[in-house]
Assembly symmetry: C2
Homo-oligomer: 144 residues x 2
DNA sequence: TGCGTTATTGCGACTCATTCTCAAAACGTC
DNA sequence: GACGTTTTGAGAATGAGTCGCAATAACGCA
């Protein structure tokens, strides 16, 4: 369920399509993203891109978020993490130990939304679902 | 589904049960909570309780959160809101216009969790679900 | 009721994630 | 290559929340 690799070429094309200029900070940012496996934090990116200013990191993050190629999710304590979006509409199962993110799409959730829609007085306009887990790797070898 | 009123007496009893002292800032805080309909922010409480320090507001919020009588939820933009908990384990449908919170409990979500559990490699340890809506009142008279 | 112990308070400084301001630098087009 | 516009980076500002600490107030006991 977590296969599709996203190439930096695709991400650059996404920016071009939105009329953005392809600058070297953006190029570096995207090259780094391409190498990321699971979820990552903004601060992590900042320290891995020492030549790029924090503001630019956050601006680029927001840009890709708006373009729909990144997702922002929250850890149990509310700490934000980002991850590459591989499906159009999907949800995340994030490992609370190592941050690995497994995407999944499930029709049950859509059914659930319809059920809620008929139960609450008003119109459902969206939702957010995060599943927290301990991944196989962390179950086998509890890292920290 | 959003019926049960919680009285300040209950909330005070909750604090007593945890061995907390019933101080006047806490009393004021609880009296204010009792009058709240939907979700509210910490800053809102601060300005409505001018005699009580910010730190105390946040400490009391945390206390009641730990006691399980309050829930913390996130708006679509990530802004935090708090709401009184009326069920043990439940989810929220929050109006993105006025902040009204409707609680619901749905067995579909528990089914969903089991489905995800068998799909992702690892052990599901928790989840977070927020449903965003426009409530009946806001549909009828779009306030702002 | 009066006291002492201990929890709680409030202030202000601090953190963390993120946004804003604005002058300087970099793009892409002509 | 020149030029207009978009981006950038440094640092100040913001919002949510926490922390340290001296002053204060609850509660149990006599």
């Amino acid at each position: 369920m977590t296969t599709t690799r996203i190439s930096s070429t695709d991400l650059i094309a996404t920016l071009e399509d939105r009329g953005c200029r392809i600058t070297s900070p953006r190029r570096d940012f995207i090259a780094l993203l391409e190498r990321k496996e699971g979820g990552f934090s903004a601060e992590e990116l900042c320290s891995e891109l020492p030549g790029v200013g924090r503001a630019t990191i956050y601006r680029t993050l927001k840009l890709l978020l708006e373009a729909g190629v990144l997702c922002k999710l929250a850890m149990p304590d509310g700490a934000p993490k980002y991850t590459l979006a591989r499906f159009d509409h999907h949800h995340h199962a994030v490992c609370v130990q190592c941050g690995l993110v497994t995407d999944f799409r499930d029709s049950t959730i859509e059914r659930l939304m319809r059920a809620v829609g008929s139960e609450v007085p008003g119109k459902v306009v969206g939702h957010r679902l995060e599943v927290y887990m301990t991944c196989q790797g962390c179950l086998v070898s509890p890292a920290d």
